[in-house]
Amino acid sequence: MLDRRLYRTAIALTVVGIAVAGYLVYVHYAGIQPACSTGGCETVQTSEWADVYGVPVALIGLIGYLSILASLLALRGDAQLFISAALSLVGFLYSGYLTYQELFTIKAICQWCVGSAVILTLLAIVTLWRLLASGGAGEETADVG
């Protein structure tokens, strides 16, 4: 019951993450400014942390969210638990690093980026919770000889 709830929460968070990252990818390639109430979006978007070897961070985020969704929908059992947790934790650590750069190096805040960081934090908590709560149910047990 708990797992079902956590699973649905993870799916919902991932869908919201896809919407946020998808929007940022769209504004990047359309060459328009994102709707920004913090005033720092263009500063963040044009900083050296906005892309990795020319690949926009927003696109990396979108691919990450799609991978998490795919792992939740297409995999079963431990494979689903481990891979969704691994992807979410990578996203959480990376977005944490980017948020740190926003706050202390760029000194500008992009609300969409912070929103994505919050989603990834929640996703990491939910997927890790599922993994730890599953307690190895369904694992193969060895026969006693």
Partner: protein, 243 residues
């Protein structure tokens, strides 16, 4: 004596897998962080990789002032100053960043003066690329935002730093629709302002940048002989025309 087989503890095995997963996660995140720090990139010109400077300052200087193409200020302004500048020229940068903001604040924002920017391209191909991109920004009435950001982020003359990536960063900072502007700057129309600037420079005997002509809006204009760092000298010339 019998030997009993002890099966592996499933919980222990699982804990090892979780520990392994966390180790892999930390390694992947560390790699992502290292490659995105920007310090290890050697493929792009430094000016392209550097964070964009002057976004806030440019917005603060220009927000609320009307722009049309290469002009800044109200159409009804009684005095017009036409600038001839090269995007690569360091003196043009010095004027733009140090003297011009004072003039914009005191005369353009108050509706007394209109400024016009004319790009010359004598330094090299980067100047032409920059000027064409400026004309494209002018189509969206954001040429002054683009130009000011360009000066904030100006690189070394003739180093080839005016790349598509550099221009796209400026466009993003200036709020220019990059896909539209990039399409426009490839057209012959984007070179027209350069030809007009060159003709204007010949007309007024201009042989260095930045140079200025000033007069009542609509002309006639005369060459302004002032020290570019001396805002008061510019102001005196404007005040004389405003009397």
């Amino acid at each position: 004596m019998s030997t009993a087989y002890t099966p592996p503890n499933p919980n222990k095995r699982r804990n090892v897998m979780i520990a392994g997963l966390i180790a892999v996660v930390v390694v992947i995140a560390a790699i992502l962080i290292l490659v995105s720090s920007g310090d290890n990139s050697t493929t792009s010109a430094p000016a392209t990789n550097a964070p964009l400077k002057g976004v806030k300052e440019t917005k603060a200087m220009l927000d609320g002032i009307p722009q049309q193409g290469n002009t800044l200020g109200k159409k009804s302004a009684p005095v017009t100053m036409i600038e001839y500048a090269d995007y690569q020229c360091p003196f043009c940068r010095d004027y733009a960043l140090n003297t011009m903001p004072v003039l914009i604040n005191d005369y353009v924002r108050t509706g007394k003066l209109r400024m016009e920017f004319n790009p010359l391209t004598f330094i090299g191909p980067d100047s032409e690329t920059a000027a064409r991109a400026g004309a494209a920004a002018g189509q969206q009435n954001l040429e002054w935002n683009y130009t000011h950001l360009f000066y904030f982020n100006q690189g070394t003359e003739r180093s080839g730093y005016v790349t598509d990536a550099f221009i796209n960063k400026l466009y993003a900072g200036a709020g220019v629709n990059a896909s539209k502007a990039n399409a426009y700057r490839a057209t012959p129309a984007a070179a027209v302002p350069i030809a007009e600037a060159t003709a204007g420079a010949q007309k007024y005997g201009i042989d260095s940048t930045p140079s200025f002509v000033v007069g009542p809006t609509g002309g006639p204009y005369t060459k302004l002989e002032v020290e570019i760092s001396n805002a008061d000298a510019f102001k005196s010339a404007f005040d004389a025309l405003l009397k």
